[in-house]
């Protein structure tokens, strides 16, 4: 087994991987940018080294600096987490060249899946079901019109190098095709430096359901069940669950077998996720493969009883999968809430700053993977994901109720978080009935939120409490502006200085 592993990431996922290392008796090496010196992953790791200024391009995306740290510290392997360099095949290659094991698939698998058109061509050969459309870039307006006609409107235009909704256009009728194609191509060029665009049949109100796979380096590949990821705000996942309420054992097996086929066709090793679109007739279509650990991997861990990070490390260490497909048991239900530093009352604007008070839930059926602590100043430079709160239950109903209980206990002051959003989702009748698709959450947020019945008595309590606080804890000794603003301000100052120096 590796003696030392470097974690090329930050935040909750770095903490999660560091914990796995400690559980396996492996020393962990953290890296951090200037604004992350006080971050939790630095405290939790056995070793930690600075890799540059706040901007990710100057720190967490710097392959050279990270490999330098790996070499100097004697790390034998690197876990990339998600985001940053996790799907960067150049990084995986550079690791191999440096004689350091990249904990993930081979660069070749990553490159194949990194190009949507190449992936589509290969997967079609393997017999993987796709949304009807082209599997390569459109050559001309005429070709686009012809294909759109043959598969039928509405159609979707998508950037081959795309992701996150960029370079994507829905076209409802023939007359809109030309301008939409031009717009998609120019957006693709701007966003990805590549104007290749392809065309697909548009699926109305699709679900986004993905299948976890795990493959060792000896040719064994298994699937571990699906995750329902349809609850998204502006194309970003917000809440995920496993299993999906609409997938039965037969459909699960069929999706799992397709996912294994995808992984095998890509000669895939380590943990990966095959994403599917599911239409209203329960047809599922291959969308893409994420060649890394997903943010939402804990829901799969809770229903299977497995630890995916332990298994990733074992696989990278050359071990065989310690179980066969028929030994995987799925039991119960798990739901994950992504706790973001954003303001639900202000259009979900990001909300970095100092955490002045943190009350964290625990107890039965609750898992919390967090990068936060009280007193920490959340930097403004990175993704706003602070923590993941995951509820497990015997049934979906129980998982939901446990999460509501835990959300009731969760409190973060000093910064805004989206905790209240989850209270709203978990009380929504459509969510209870599992009537979700990728447009669900934006529709819910478009509605007026119901006012609290207990508002009046709450006001009375708040008025009394305001006076009592003043008697029992005069504000000057507590989280007063004069107490907290300097810390934040000096942090900005520091940031300005370090950026100026590099």
């Amino acid at each position: 087994m590796f003696k030392k592993v470097l974690i090329a990431n930050r935040g909750e996922i770095a903490v999660r991987v560091i914990r796995a290392c400690r559980e396996m008796g492996i020393a962990s090496v953290a890296v951090y940018s200037d604004v992350d010196r006080a971050s939790l992953h630095v405290r939790k790791a056995d070793e930690a080294y600075p890799i540059g200024p706040a901007p990710a391009t100057e720190s967490y995306l710097r392959i050279d600096k990270i490999l330098d740290v790996a070499r100097c510290s004697g790390a034998e392997a690197i876990h990339p987490g998600y985001g940053f360099l996790s799907e960067n095949s150049k990084f995986a290659r550079a690791c191999a060249t440096a004689g350091i094991k990249f904990i993930g698939p081979s660069p070749a698998s990553m490159e194949l899946m990194g190009s949507k058109t190449r992936a589509r061509q290969e997967m079609e050969k393997a017999g993987v079901p796709f949304v009807p459309g082209t599997s390569r870039g459109l050559q001309s307006q005429e070709e686009a019109a012809e294909i759109a006609e043959s598969i039928g409107y509405p159609v979707m235009l998508k950037a081959a190098a795309g992701g996150g909704g960029k370079g994507m256009r829905m076209v409802r009728a023939r007359e809109d095709l030309r301008s939409a194609l031009e717009a998609a191509q120019s957006e693709a060029q701007r966003s990805f430096g590549d104007d290749e665009v392809y065309i697909e049949k548009a699926i109305i109100n699709p679900r986004h359901i993905e299948m976890q796979v795990l493959a060792d380096e000896h040719g064994n590949t298994v699937w571990l069940g699906e995750r329902e990821c349809s609850v998204q705000r502006r194309h970003q996942k917000v809440l995920e669950e496993a299993p999906s309420a609409i997938v039965d054992a037969d459909m699960r097996r069929r999706m799992g077998e397709v996912a294994v086929k995808v992984a095998q066709a890509a000669r895939y090793a380590n943990a990966g996720t095959v994403e599917f679109l599911v239409d209203q007739q329960m047809n599922f279509y291959f969308l893409e493969m994420n060649t890394r650990l997903q943010v939402e991997h804990p829901v799969t861990e809770l229903i299977t009883g497995l630890d995916l990070v332990h298994l990733q490390i074992r696989i990278a260490n050359g071990e065989e999968l310690p179980f066969a497909q028929d030994e995987v048991t799925i039991r119960g239900h798990a739901i994950e809430c992504r706790i973001y530093a954003e303001d639900p009352d202000n259009n979900y604007f990001p909300s970095p700053g100092k955490i002045t008070l943190l009350l964290a839930p625990s107890g039965p059926g609750i898992r919390r993977d967090s990068g936060m602590y009280e007193g920490w100043t959340v930097p403004l430079d990175y993704d706003p994901l602070l923590a993941k709160l995951i509820g497990y239950g015997t049934s979906r109903e129980q998982a939901m109720m446990r999460l509501q209980r835990a959300l009731y206990e969760y409190f973060v002051a000093g910064i805004k978080t989206n905790i209240s959003l989850f209270r709203r989702i978990l009380q929504d009748p459509d969510f209870h009935a599992a009537r979700v698709d990728t447009g669900y959450l934006d529709r819910l947020l478009g509605q007026q939120s119901k006012t609290d019945v207990d508002h009046d008595s709450g006001q009375t309590i708040a008025a009394i409490a305001a006076g009592l606080f003043t008697m029992l804890q005069p504000i000057s000794t507590a989280g007063r502006p004069g107490h907290q603003t300097p810390a934040v301000a000096s942090n900005w100052k520091q940031k300005g200085r370090t950026e100026a120096m590099h």
Binding site: F349, P350, P352, L380, P384, A413, I461, I464, F469, I475
Partner: protein
């Protein structure tokens, strides 16, 4: 002690008397008996008629909020003996309005020039934080009197970015 308390915009008069955790509150003339302890800084446990409430206090640069369970209330508190108006930055529809940064971040673009005409809701400045670009929009129709935001600099929550007259 006597306080003027404003909760979510409603002004109320609160008298408090007590000791040893047991308080007699008179709120707008109505008597309420409260058992109160501070369990840790900024977290108060109240028992009122047997009902248990956990109150959290959140003091930011600009506001004081109290959370009763999961519900948030904007609170202003005045000792009437030292009463002073808190109305300053807000202004009204007719005067000049300040455009403030809703969160800390970096000014990545200034979209208009000083003295230009803007509509309500028109983007004035773009602030980036946590990988997201956020357009800060004009609160009123008018003329941009002054732009204080400088492209490439960091701003703090509450900083004035521009003034629209």
């Amino acid at each position: 002690m006597v306080y003027d308390v404003t909760v979510d915009g409603v002004r109320r008069r609160l008298e408090l008397e007590g000791a040893d955790g047991h308080w007699t509150c008179r709120l707008d003339g109505q008597y309420i008996f409260v058992d109160a302890i501070l369990t840790r800084p900024d977290v108060l446990s109240l028992l009122i008629d047997g009902r248990s409430f956990e109150i959290k206090r959140e003091q930011t640069a600009t506001d004081l909020h109290l959370w009763v369970g999961s519900r948030r209330f904007a609170v202003e508190l005045h000792d009437p003996r030292s009463l002073r108006s808190r109305r300053d930055g807000a202004g009204d529809e007719h005067g000049p309005r300040k455009l403030v940064a809703p969160m800390p971040g970096k000014v990545v673009r200034v979209l208009v020039e000083e003295n230009s005409q803007v509509e309500t809701g028109q983007g004035i400045v773009v602030v980036e934080a946590m990988k997201m670009q956020n357009e800060i929009k004009s609160p009123k129709k008018g003329v941009v009197q002054k732009i204080l935001a400088v492209q490439g600099t960091n701003v703090n929550s509450g900083d004035v970015l521009a003034i629209v007259e």
